[in-house]
Point group: C2
Chain length 160, copies 2
DNA sequence: CGCTCAATTGCATAGAAGTTGCAATAGCTG
DNA sequence: CAGCTATTGCAACTTCTATGCAATTGAGCG
């Protein structure tokens, strides 16, 4: 698998933010650096938990407003699963594979879907997004579990 | 595009239900026939709306319990988008393309992702589900709208 | 056909995820 | 440092989904 974990720095994002009229605030920077450091996708509540560890007064709605804004501005992207959205850095375009049993998320290089995207575009008329796709399946650990996947809510172990 | 709309009859499902110890109840049959007839994917509230048109006393929780049960038994599958799940007949295995601007959902033949699934399996160790995938993009109507997609909620026109 | 028993339903209640109005605060820019 | 706008905290709220419980119903059986 090609290396899709191109590490971006928080400093890099500050520039982008300024260019978009988004201010460099404490909560915003904390969310960004948490996501950059961990290089994973985290839910709003998980982010809030981590953020408040250092700055206890930051509210959950601030987290929501920030991830929403940064997503709209293309800095982050969200992956919906089991009734909640996890957010991750979108700077390095990539797709995902998601274990629909345990909720684990892994990154995949965009090239791995390029041909499919072209085909689907031709067949459906849809312009397929060149990044941020989520393909579902079973991770190595869950592969042998034959219980069918639940569509609505609640994976078998808590989502990050 | 290959024809993925293999029409299944409600009668066909009754057998499956019996085999699984699921009773042939009014709400269950109505939900199934609505989904078979319309051959689309519908949200719980939309289903409830349609069901109550004929049987006004059927409650939304009954709808939820039914789509959940039938999903767990493999008769239906759910597609999450914009904070809600739409359910459709799973009998004819297929994938989907979803317009992330307007929420429109279209079916795609499983073959269109077969090669990709194989590749991803080799690269990630994930066993990719052979049906029920959702690829995101823009439908023909929304293709020219440059507003970025919103990750959290609320597509620009109401979801079915 | 009526009986029995588990599956299912309606209702009301609960809960999680996400949104929003408003007044106060804090980044930028000059 | 002054001023303007973006942002924040708080609290209230909406939407989607889940669940406990008592009443009802479907399916097989005699």
């Amino acid at each position: 698998m090609k290396d899709v974990e191109v590490k971006h720095t928080v400093a890099e994002f500050e520039e982008v933010l300024r260019g978009k009229g988004l201010r460099r605030t404490i909560p915003r920077m904390m969310i960004l650096s948490i996501l950059v450091e961990s290089s994973t996708h985290l839910s709003a509540s998980r982010l809030h938990h981590l953020v408040t560890a250092a700055q206890p007064t930051i509210s959950i709605s601030t987290v929501y407003r920030n991830v929403t804004a940064m997503t709209e501005h293309g800095l982050l992207h969200g992956v919906e699963y089991a009734g909640q959205t996890r957010f991750g850095i979108a700077a390095a375009p990539h797709h995902h594979v998601l274990c629909e049993r345990c909720g684990v998320l892994a990154d995949v290089a965009v090239e791995d879907l390029a041909q499919t995207a072209t085909n689907l575009m031709a067949r459906t008329g849809f312009e397929i997004s060149p990044s941020g796709q989520v393909l579902r399946g079973r991770c190595r650990q869950c592969r042998d579990d034959r219980r069918p996947a639940v569509a609505c809510r609640a994976p078998s172990r808590p989502v990050a």
